[in-house]
């Protein structure tokens, strides 16, 4: 039984996932609430705003049954700001601009605060922490109070592209948005490429390389390459890893292991 896709979700699957993001719409007609497998849909009553999964919002938009209120980041001003951080800011020369914080995670401005993860509980009694596409990262914020800097959500390329394709008349200056998205993509792609040099950190057992702030489609683009490089490096360096393991085992046998290996330095981003 052949399964045609490689390991790790591919572009079409990532786009499918992005369609589960929640967006804000202004319905142009009434529709009673629906119980979907993906969760309940609130009744649509014009002109009251409603939150819908992107796939449904696009379905209604194409039939002229609703307008989509774009997320605040998908705006020329926000995108220009992010592009500036991404290309000018010293702190992000080799890293992606910070993503929107998860629930319970302190924002970029409150770096000192400890994160407190807020779990939900599943029917099986397990802790469950929501993550994109199931966080409101693409809804229109009614409260602009926070003054939170704009940030690119995980599915920025997909949501941006889909709204440009199907709801450009709902966007502010779609031509400019298109250009900015393209510029952002290029700046960030260059960062991803320059990161090949630190990839050996992910090849060793217990190691890793941070890609925080990366977008889903950007990962989709580079996944095959990055895994290929790390796997290649792991195999070439296998004898080195073996030697290191033996050394650690020896240290432990001598009781000399102090728990602070040089691993701390591996906390680098690209």
């Amino acid at each position: 039984m052949a399964f045609p896709l490689p390991r790790g979700i591919v572009a079409s699957e990532i786009a499918f996932l992005a369609e589960m993001e929640t967006v804000t719409v202004v319905p142009r007609q009434r529709l009673e609430g629906l119980e979907l497998l993906g969760g309940p849909i609130e009744p649509l009553v014009p002109p009251r705003r409603a939150s819908l999964p992107l796939w449904l919002a696009l379905l209604l938009k194409r039939q002229r049954r609703a307008n989509i209120i774009p997320p605040s980041w998908l705006h020329p001003e926000s995108l220009s700001l992010i592009l500036e951080v991404e290309s000018q800011h010293q702190d992000y020369k080799n890293a992606f601009s910070p993503p929107p914080p998860l629930p319970g995670q302190p924002s970029v401005r409150d770096q000192g605060l400890e994160p407190t993860a807020r779990p939900q509980y599943t029917l099986d009694g397990n802790r469950y922490y929501a993550a994109p596409p199931f966080l409101p990262q693409n809804t229109a914020q009614t409260t602009v109070s926070s003054g939170e800097p704009p940030a690119l959500p995980f599915h920025w390329i997909e949501v941006g592209n889909m709204l440009l394709d199907s709801a450009s008349d709902d966007l502010m200056d779609p031509g400019q948005i298109r250009r900015l998205l393209k510029d952002l993509r290029e700046v960030r792609m260059a960062k991803m490429r320059s990161g090949v040099d630190v990839l050996d950190d992910a090849a060793m057992g217990g190691g890793g390389v941070a890609l925080t702030g990366v977008g889903a489609m950007e990962l989709g683009d580079e996944r095959g390459f990055l895994s290929g490089v790390v796997d290649g490096l792991r195999k070439i360096g296998a004898s080195k890893e073996q030697a290191r393991r033996e050394q650690l085992a020896e240290q432990r046998a001598n009781g000399g292991y102090n728990g602070t290996q040089d691993e701390e330095e591996d906390y680098m981003e690209f």
Partner: protein, 287 residues
Amino acid sequence: MDIDDILASVDRGPGASPESAALDHQQLTRFWIAERAVSEVLPWPAPLMERMMDRVRLQIETIEDLAASSVDTNPSHNSTSHNPNLNLRLSILQTDLARTQYIIRSLLRARLAKLTKHSMHYLVQLASRNKNPLSSASQSQSQSQTQSSASTANVSPEDSVPDISALTDTTPLSGPETSFVHAHQTLLAGHYGASFLGAFPRQLRRLDDNAGGTSMVQGPELKEVVFVRCLAAQVNCLMEGEGDGVDGEDGLGDEIGVTMRMGDVWVVRWDGVRKAWERGKWNCCNV
């Protein structure tokens, strides 16, 4: 109200509420992404999948009823004027159903692909947990096959398929997957035997040999990298060991590697975060 009905409604309890439908759907989606991302078959989430399949069945009934009601309406009336949103509702419900079915189908196919690729590995793994004294005897017999095979008559490739008939715990597979992989390997062994292995000397007909230091039973590569997002306050990446790495709860004998903090996305080896994923279940999310 009958007491049974009350009990039944309590039993259905949260599982029947729309919010829990959303939560289950999110879990299914996350599990699908994880299954697509890692090289091994992940533990089958039986309760979640049972609830999902029940909902899918109910939803199909709902859609059928709704579609039937549009046909049932008096032909002299225009059915759309009867309920102007009926077609829209139907198309939304059908799209939602098709999307969910896509995930389930892709999930099952991804698992079957891994099972067929490493069928012997999973069968041997299952058989090694087999507690039945009778079959464990037959297993030790098969392990000493290198000495005995020459004397045993009619060694066929099927003989190397482990016996898992008495198995009670099929983790990480579901029951049907266990039957599938056993039937698959038996057919494959029979086919090899009929097409070429039958013509080989007896001692060369096995499919689980490890002569020459190379085992014929190949498992998935657990050192391959995955892309994860840290959802707990922090998760440690382990070099190897017993702890789960979540929030610093490491067991003895672990070699702690890098520490991921909440919201971080990392490229790490699967063997480094596997325990965190398994024990903390959804703390560490594949992206």
